[in-house]
Symmetry: D2
Subunit: 335 residues, 4 copies
């Protein structure tokens, strides 16, 4: 007996990754919920059409016995659909930014539009299991963290809590992402010929993912400089984080903060002191890989944090949350 | 004193390449003719705005003293604009497929729409200078060859004329192109994440560039199998051409056919017998590089033909034609 | 209870892929056999060191209870190691070209060196399960097919057997491979800056994989033109195959030959008539995807055959063979 | 009448770029000086063998009438050759790091080996024309700046001099480079399959280019955090530089510092306030493109500085220096 789960937005990169992982997951059966343009598609091999498809309605989902629906949709679509599914008693894991911030005002400030579901926003559980595992199992509406914030928070929060960052000197987070982070759509900005052999920065200092870092890692906006950049690759996020250390004087001591914080975490991997991870190591995984280097003489510190933006940054983490919500082993289907 | 020339479609890849080469050309001054959406643009460095811009009309072009206009536009736009400029006494170099075929019926068969300028079609000069140099200087309407046909005809025509291909065994032309060949536009098919780490075939046996090869190299359609394919690179075309040789028995003899045909051609380069070119060698040049290999025992032969699709396949060749039309040295600005 | 299996050459791309798939396989436990330079390595995340490592000797493998050893090594190493392991009663799956051809003379002709194990060569079973499934389970020495031949034979053999290719007109196989096909090593030819934004042909008409196609698909060398080419991607092989059809007159009829041949094959997927696969579809899978297009008027036919060169072209197929040798479900760990 | 100039290391990426630009330069004739392995080479098109080749000796260079030799060689080779050429009265432009630092001790600290030409080191002129134009024309030994330091110093020095950086809060320079920065050689680290779809950091806080930034921009090492990173592209460097501004409160005011500093500089281009350059814009040019963004509320500032590492970061700047040394227009051959 498996649990039925639904995917909305299955033609996008996160949705395709959800389908891929859930199809191999031993405890669930995925269904595809066709929303708007989803019915058109590329040619498929004969006899390999994938999971069954049903309309994207609460009724159809209920009839199919679906317990959890993943929304891999834009925020405005997620707000509308989350309300409909939750009302019908179907739990929701939302991969958009619709339910990540704390107040409607905060949402409006960063997303430049009104929040249409303030009550659901209040109820939503922020699903970064490494920090918030206890609240996940009972969630009716689970808000899956953003890709950039996942890599940043897993790197920063243990250090802030341990008090080893001199916040008066500020933190710089120089973030780089593969192109799939921009979604699957026709756009000149993400056209092959515009991106290949290029590298570009965007959203300097005002990316909408910033508040997710501030609120989770207890950092003030004035102390945090964040820039997003586009790498000519399909998937992966690498963040290079700079700060002045205090209270620790070697790479090994800095690393120890992480060792203590993540001793029992299956999805955070640490590199030996002085070594740093790269994107190859996290490709198609749910891992967050972290490495550190501290200059003992001056206290200058660098942390490199890597995830797959479609893995731990989206579909992988969403399924990690689903595992907790359905009582499976947290790593089921992900290792 | 330089000659004024105009570019329509300067925001596309061929148009950008025209602007780049013409700006460095000692004999001309380029102008940009703004057609429809051309006025919107990416941010430019302060004080480096490029050539002057004027509206895309025959009047404005005449007022600016423009002698030749390059049309880097889709066929339907080229038909309309070519008529307007030629009527106003301004010569046209058209980079689209609008005027490459011989009859309106042939155009309709391959381009799936009516030809609106049948008289201009009759008048147009097909500008592959290596085969048609004498007709170019007087042209009022110069039709610049397609990218795939340029690489194919330069490789095939000398061999067909020399009678060294056993046509009864057929010719295969397996063609591969960089993504810029699809133009500069928002499209999911050419999105970075769809193209990177991928390779795909399209227009199997019925690409609209086929008739340009047949008519220039005197080959029957039934003897010619052509497939286009997308390489995950920005620019470059490589064609691998297979046939059964007759009358020659070594790579060196086959190569000699080309040596004789291209002895005085500045833009065709030949590789030593048995060696073949690659795309790196023709990048950002107006060269067509050719190499051959013939198996003496069986007569199986392979020719590799390389061009830059934006160079000899578009803007470079257009400027080579312009040089002939304006009486410049044919290689001016191109070597 | 799982079966112990060993990997030699685990730092190469095929070896890394073997480790990745075997680690997730429910029926086996992988061991890494350290041969020569294998002990040096990149930094690994703390506590994620992978499978246990032992010396690459028959004694150490026997002590560990290893039943099957995969050799992801060059042919000359494979010849030496295969002899040692088989002598010690350990079964071998060899991914090199050492045991693929039929006679030592044939090997010497194509590999340009003497075969040192002619008796083992005689005994070796060629492991393309779709054609040779019955012989695989009992093999002591299983020779895993080459990457190019796997894609070519799966596309060609059913057509030759059905008599729908006019062999007198010849067959062209234009093959393209990702760079991992060249192995994991320092080499200027496969350096990033030499390969990116490039495309190149090599081994025109005399690639050492040719005889594997001839002998499996019953084609004469004089009728078969094969060229290998390098795509700037990590993994994947696409072959565009051209011939003149006889006895069939539509794409659908040609497709039917495959439908009949592969009705029960889990790893061959067919595209609807006129549609063709691309490399994205087979990435990290053990599938061979095939599509056809036939021009009814002239009989010109094109077949596109795609595999992942590290999947069905190497590690995936090796594990498919292992599944048969150990009595597992043939698709175990591969779907 | 042109001036004869020589290139050592012409098979490397900087050397190839020198040859390309110098061949099109109207005032000079390039010669290739064959040093060690330079005689082996890839196949060339017939009749297109490039500049004449002579042995890499002071005698041969003198006999050919060579006035300036470019050394695109490793530091240890440059030290030896610079001494030989300068002794023979031939001026040298060295592209290695051999003569960039001020003292032999400083060289030994960062390059981990002894400096064998301390007197030449004292004499060498550091050739960043925007800061040191007056000293260049008379140089016998011109030390061409490093790629990373060129982008960093052009961005930082005007700001430090204008006093608009709060140095007590530190400066972060997050640098990214294309793979050609690692040189043209066989290496697993720069193999295509290791680099594509990857991104990695190296030399965290201790890159040997750091002292060139410190000494030119008057920054203390303890206030400067620098990390180098590898982008999967062939050429280009983008540096994202973070600091806390003082004395300026808007992007426009910060930009004005650059406008004043670079008013007459042909090779520094500035973007409108709030816009930033990307690598596409500087590809194959000698430009350094700079853009800024300042958050008025908090003083957080970001500067993006882009160059082509083979252009302004190596060959382009070397030729800019040559133009000054030979009395040509500074932009000759470079615009």
């Amino acid at each position: 007996m498996t649990t039925n789960v639904g995917i909305v937005g299955f033609r996008g990169y996160s949705g395709m990754e959800l389908e891929r992982i859930l199809t191999a997951h031993s405890g669930v059966t995925p269904w595809l919920l066709e929303h708007r343009a989803d019915s058109t598609q590329e040619p498929q091999p004969i006899g390999h059409s994938g999971p069954p498809r049903i309309p994207c309605t609460a009724e159809a989902a209920s009839d199919a016995g679906i317990q959890i629906v993943f929304l891999a949709t834009p925020p405005e679509v997620s707000m509308e659909l989350a309300a409909a599914f939750v009302s019908a008693g179907i739990r929701v894991v939302d991969l958009s930014g619709a339910f990540r911030l704390v107040t409607p005002e905060n949402y409006k400030h960063w997303y430049k539009s009104d929040h249409t579901q303030p009550e659901l926003l209040r109820e939503a559980v922020y699903g970064l299991p490494e920090f918030n595992r206890a609240a996940v199992p009972q969630a009716r509406l689970l808000s899956n963290p953003g890709c950039y914030p996942t890599a940043a928070n897993l790197a920063l929060r243990p250090l802030v809590q341990a008090g080893v960052i001199d916040l008066t000197r500020g933190i710089v987070c120089d973030a780089k992402s593969g192109v799939s982070g921009a979604g699957r759509k026709a756009s000149l900005k993400t056209a092959f010929s515009e991106v290949t052999e290029n590298f570009s920065a965007y959203s300097l200092l005002d990316h909408r993912h910033v508040p997710e870092v501030l609120m989770n890692s207890a950092i003030q906006e004035e102390d945090f400089s964040f820039t997003a950049q586009l790498i000519p690759i399909h998937r992966g996020i690498l963040e290079t984080i700079y700060f002045r250390a205090k209270g620790v004087t070697t790479s090994a001591e800095l690393l120890d903060v992480y060792v203590n914080a993540y001793r029992n975490e299956p999805f955070v991997r640490l590199y030996p002191a002085g070594a740093v991870p790269d994107l190859r190591g996290v490709n198609r995984t749910n891992f967050c890989d972290i490495g550190v280097r501290l200059d003992s003489k001056t206290g200058r510190a660098v942390v490199v944090s890597c995830i797959d933006n479609l893995g731990k940054g989206a579909a992988g983490q969403a399924i990690q949350n689903m595992n907790l919500m359905l009582g499976f082993n947290e790593t089921e289907g992900l290792l």
